[in-house]
């Protein structure tokens, strides 16, 4: 149980891929259009990643080694994660807002983001048990929820400021804000590492 808590909390606070790794920044940018959307997308990614981990772990531990194809773990897991991301966002669109154009956009975002999260998951789940790999997958989603919700607040402040110079309005200001958020979370991650590791 302690190992599972350490994996989840460690992923969120210590090895925060969304700010510490290049691939993670991208989802945080696209998902931060609104606090509600950020939270919903984060929860869906958590579910999709957990579902992908449920299927991927037995494949990775038993099927691939049996045929000597362990090197295919990335090509197995990323399509699984992306597929579950697409499926979950599709179901959400059908259930909550049929006919709306937004779920279509959301589906593309979710698919890409699950693929990104899946690529990171592979590195951390190598020597994990079944339950621990599930926790790692859920931790990936929790990371995205935290970062996107924080970044949404920064974007909200930037978007309603009229005095930002024209050349810096929009994406350039977002990048600077993301850099500061990464800096703050890096500071917290170093402190959290002392408690967790």
């Amino acid at each position: 149980m302690k190992a599972i808590i350490v994996i989840i909390v460690g992923l969120v606070l210590v090895n925060n891929i969304a700010v510490a790794g290049k691939p993670g920044v991208h989802p945080a940018f696209r998902l931060s259009a609104g606090a509600g959307i950020s939270a919903a997308a984060g929860i869906l990614i958590t579910l999709a990643m957990a579902a992908a981990a449920v299927c991927a772990w037995p494949l990775e531990k038993y099927l691939l080694p049996a045929y000597g194809t362990g090197y295919l773990r990335m090509t197995v897991f990323i399509p699984l994660a992306a597929g579950f991301g697409y499926l979950f966002s599709f179901l959400m669109g059908k259930l909550f807002s049929p006919g709306s154009r937004k779920p279509g956009r959301m589906r593309v975002m979710m698919t890409a983001d699950c693929a990104v999260a899946g690529a990171i998951y592979i590195y951390i789940s190598q020597d994990c048990s079944y339950l621990q790999s599930l926790a790692a997958a859920a931790g990936e989603g929790a990371v995205l929820i935290l970062v996107t919700i924080l970044f949404t607040a920064m974007r909200y402040s930037i978007d309603r400021t009229e005095t930002i110079p024209g050349s810096l309005r929009g994406t350039p200001a977002y990048f600077v804000a993301a850099a500061f958020l990464a800096m703050i979370l890096t500071g917290f991650s170093q402190a959290a590492a002392v408690y967790i590791l």
Binding site: I158, T161, E162, P165, P172, F180, Q190, V194
Partner: protein, 318 residues
């Protein structure tokens, strides 16, 4: 949304006056800093103020932004940043921090009153992560140098190292006769400055009190920790007055300020206990700056809900 805009406009109208008063309130800490650590700290303050003014002028010229130097915020940012640094900190590094504070954390986001993060705190956090060795290399207080020698360490560093018998007394910490950052060690000087700002209605007493309460309660709940020690050391009072008291980056309502301050205090002690940094106040203030829009939005929702209930009750009576 309208409530927020009204608040912002009022804040900007007070720019020049409020910044001048904040500058005046920082003088007691400057005087005690020079007395405790020598004149190099004052030189650092001059360098930081000059660098901040120059960076802001350059940014305004390059982006054809209206001249904002006369509001005095650049100078105040320079003063606050220099107070957070050790007096022996290299000047060129301090200038780098000024660049991050003024260009990165303030002007890019629209200038004074629109910045998301406290500029001085952002600049200091940048320096803390980039040059941790220099930030943690604290000078020995010159007033105590005659008594003993050896390496200087702040009370928090002594606590983290387990050298509890070397921690100064409460009275010494209150006066500021300890090792630490140039302008944050003397609690009495900071309290004089804070009282002046509260008297002039430039800051709400809710914010500093809630930060101090957050620190005290959290320290009291952790076994073996002394709440008074945590309040008197590590720039707690400085952060509560000058970093958390910044109106542009903190919630507008009193309840929001209290929530901000309490969480800020809690996070400060948690980061301190890890022993990773010289102090946790800066990171706590910055992360709370980020979530300020959520606190404001929650406060506005509660206000509207309350107003609706009152008007519904009045309609019922009629």
């Amino acid at each position: 949304m309208k409530i927020w805009k009204i608040f912002k406009t009022e804040g900007n109208r007070r720019n020049e006056k409020s910044m001048a008063l904040v500058g005046i309130s920082l003088f007691p800490a400057l005087a005690t800093g020079v007395y405790i650590f020598g004149s190099r700290g004052a030189m650092m303050t001059l360098v930081c103020v000059a660098a901040c003014i120059v960076f802001e002028a350059i940014f305004n010229a390059v982006t054809r932004h209206p001249n904002t130097l006369k509001d005095g915020s650049a100078a105040v940012t320079g003063i606050i940043l220099s107070y957070l640094l050790p007096s022996g900190f290299p000047f060129w590094m301090a200038v780098t921090g000024c660049f991050v504070s003024i260009i990165g954390a303030k002007q890019i986001f629209g200038g004074f009153g629109r910045n998301i993060l406290n500029p001085a705190a952002a600049g200091y956090a940048f320096l803390m992560l980039l040059f941790p060795g220099y930030i943690a290399h604290l000078p020995f207080p010159s007033v105590a140098a005659a008594v003993g020698g050896g390496a200087a360490a702040s009370p928090l560093q002594l606590m983290a190292a387990g050298r509890l018998e070397e921690i100064p007394s409460y009275f010494e910490m209150f006066l500021g006769f300890t090792s630490g950052s140039f302008g944050t060690v003397s609690v009495i000087a900071l309290l004089i400055g804070g009282a002046f700002l509260i008297w002039k209605k430039q800051i709400s007493p809710v914010m500093p009190l809630s930060v101090i309460c957050g620190i005290a309660v959290t320290a009291a709940l952790i076994p073996g920790q002394d709440p008074v020690f945590h309040i008197l050391t590590g720039g707690s009072v400085f952060g509560a007055i000058y970093l958390a008291g910044d109106f542009a980056t903190t919630p507008s309502g009193s309840v929001g300020k209290a929530v901000f301050g309490l969480i800020c205090g809690i996070l400060t002690v948690i980061v301190r206990m890890s022993g990773t940094y010289i102090d946790g106040m800066i990171l706590a203030v910055l992360i709370m700056n980020v979530v300020t829009p959520y606190i404001d939005a929650a406060g506005e929702k509660l206000c509207l809900k309350g107003e609706k209930q009152i008007s519904a009750a009045e309609t019922g009576k009629e």
